[in-house]
């Protein structure tokens, strides 16, 4: 990495963190520390909500996903705008009405302490573990591609976040997230422009898109009703809507963002802003990956994008086998490139018969290349049983480092680090708030001064931060745990959403009924996960509807709850 890249990277991070610390300097009371003093306007809320959701993996993996599988992943976000409308109408007014610090506080006022603490516990468990992964996942990729020391990268990223989150609380998180999101969006727009400029000069943009389409990268919408298919229009709209309602409506790392709005109106506008921008933003990131794919139709891609693993294979007995595959891959690439230029010329002539014939040849040539890449992956898996055979996470960063100009590389690394830091900051702040409000102040130390609670919140932020960094530092030793944590999150969301929807809409239901319904529903979701091939987006629908149905059934004939 050049000196200019380091300057852009460290300058961008330094300015953002410095601004966040400066903007939130001075003494803060508990409301200021946990809710940002309710000063934020809608654009800060909107950008902050987006930044909390966008982790580094969003920018590292998503373009790689488009490179390999096309843009169909965007369907995952189709339900999000609908969820933002529901949250604005149903969730936001109720949280503001009760002046709560955390989403779980609401549940005690509606049900009882055990329901509040069950949901708070599930949040702490899942978010506490995933904060470490949010640091570890990009650090492993950055260290592999750039040669940065893994543990130092984890400590550097985590340490900066702990510093400004502890000093400035929620307001520092929102303020830095606003700047970070601007860098992320601006960086991806710039990346798109630079990638398109790097395509062959005699290739029109229209033909570049056609080439991507001919090779299946623009098959976005899948109308299949098969519940085992991961991304379809229906799972995206319905499952995605339930998932987004659960995540944005009941996960404290998001609820805390819009509770810091200066009014309900600003909070609602921030969520709607997120609903309006999310699908275009994800489409842009996926389209960047599609253009990287087109770039590599004219420039020889590596046979395997994780270069560190490839180098390890070359140091084994499988070296000869891999070299043969690499040579065959290069020959197949040259042939495919010729066929693609033939397609380009046919498109320029407007000769539809020639276009159809060239498309067929290009697809056959791509199938040969794909087969060689699969063989290479099999060789890697057999030569290095501990190697990660998935390369999607490495596509974009490898492309950036090898092909983009100096300065732009630094900016895109800043995008990735900003994304990691914004997501971790949101998580740490929410973990500290929940520990303080739902556990410490509710059950351990009920009557203390504001200053005491601010000190405690700072201590909890540092504590969760240190835990996250430790988890990230040693995560490579516990790979199976990482997978378990990722699965854990998607298993609980539907049930927790169901509890909140019962609280809002089923006035006959009491605390014990919803508590029992939640336990039975969660068992059902776990059974579906273990025994069926149903895609994870549907778990949110199943868990939520089961809680609603069982709660209603158990409370049939009981009197309606009254306002207290």
């Amino acid at each position: 990495m050049s000196a200019l890249d380091w300057l852009v990277l460290l300058g961008t991070l330094g300015v953002i963190v410095g601004y966040g610390v400066w903007k939130t300097r001075g003494r803060q009371d508990m409301a200021g520390y946990l809710r940002g003093g309710r000063q934020d306007k809608w654009h800060t809320i909107g950008l902050s909500v987006m930044a909390t959701q966008a982790s580094a993996i969003t920018f590292l993996s998503t373009p790689g996903q488009a490179y390999q599988d096309g843009m169909r992943f965007v369907q995952f976000y189709f339900g999000l705008p609908l969820a933002m409308i529901v949250l604005s109408i149903v969730f936001v007014p109720r949280y503001f009405q009760l002046h709560v610090y955390t989403a779980y506080e609401f549940l005690e006022s509606r049900f009882d302490l055990k329901t509040r603490q069950l949901t708070a516990f599930l949040f702490l468990l899942q978010r506490g573990l995933s904060a470490g992964i949010t640091i570890y996942a990009p650090a492993i990729i950055l260290s592999s591609v750039l040669g940065w020391p893994l543990r130092l990268t984890c400590v550097f990223m985590g340490g900066i976040v702990v510093l400004y989150t502890t000093l400035g609380g929620t307001r520092a998180v929102s303020q830095t997230q606003k700047q970070q999101m601007v860098v992320m969006l601006g960086g991806m727009v710039l990346a798109f422009i630079v990638i398109v400029a790097r395509l062959p000069p005699n290739l029109s943009f229209r033909n570049a898109v056609h080439i991507a389409g001919s090779l299946g990268k623009l098959n976005v919408v899948d109308f299949s009703a098969d519940p085992t298919r991961r991304y379809t229009l229906w799972s995206g709209l319905l499952g995605g809507c339930f998932l987004a309602m659960a995540y944005f409506g009941t996960d404290q790392s998001q609820v805390q963002r819009y509770l810091s709005a200066r009014s309900i109106a600003e909070s609602r506008l921030g969520l709607l802003f997120n609903g309006l921008l999310k699908v275009p933003m994800q489409s842009l990131i996926l389209f960047v990956g599609t253009m990287v794919f087109v770039f590599y139709q004219f420039n020889l891609p590596p046979i395997f994008f994780n270069q560190a693993e490839l180098a390890r294979v070359h140091a084994t007995a499988a070296d000869g086998q891999m070299r043969v595959l690499e040579q065959a891959h290069a020959v197949a690439f040259e042939h495919k490139r010729e066929e693609i230029w033939r397609l380009d010329r046919a498109l320029a002539r407007g000769d539809s018969a020639a276009v159809a014939a060239a498309e067929g040849s290009v697809r056959r040539a791509e199938a040969v290349s794909a087969s060689l890449r699969e063989q290479a992956q099999r060789v890697i898996a057999s030569a290095l049983p501990d190697a990660n055979p998935k390369e999607a996470d490495y596509v974009f960063l490898t492309f950036v480092v090898r092909n983009l100009p100096r300065g732009v590389v630094g900016l895109l690394l800043a995008v990735i680090l900003c994304a990691a830091m914004s997501a971790v900051a949101g998580e740490l702040s929410a973990l500290a708030s929940t520990t303080l409000v739902d556990i410490y102040r509710r059950s351990l130390r009920k009557q203390a001064s504001d200053a005491h609670y601010v000190r405690a919140a700072r201590l909890f932020t540092v504590g969760w931060g240190v835990l996250a960094i430790l988890f990230a530092t040693f995560a490579s030793l516990i790979d199976n745990l990482i997978q378990a944590v990722n699965i854990l999150g998607s298993l609980f969301y539907g049930t927790v959403l169901g509890i909140f929807l019962v609280a809002f809409f089923l006035r006959r239901v009491r605390g014990t009924a919803v508590f029992l319904a939640a336990i039975v529903s969660e068992s059902l979701v776990v059974w579906v996960f273990l025994r069926t091939g149903v895609s994870f987006l549907w778990y949110n629908v199943i868990g939520c509807l089961a809680v609603l149905g069982l709660s209603a059934l158990m409370s049939y004939g009981r009197p309606v709850a009254s306002s207290r």
């Binding site: 965007v74 933002m84 509606r110 389409g213 109106a265 609602r268 009491r510 306002s563």
Partner: protein, 56 residues
Amino acid sequence: MPDEPRFPPVPPPGDPAGDELDAAPPFLDWTGLYLIVAAALVVEVAAFTALTLIYR
């Protein structure tokens, strides 16, 4: 704590919290904004469907 059905209190008329609940957005009205978000989604899904059908 007894297991009684409860519902959080609704702010009485004149309470600032109640007024805030009804606050209008700085532009358009809430229904209009919700329709814009939903319409944008419809346009996006339609555009992606068209793209899919073109390159199927």
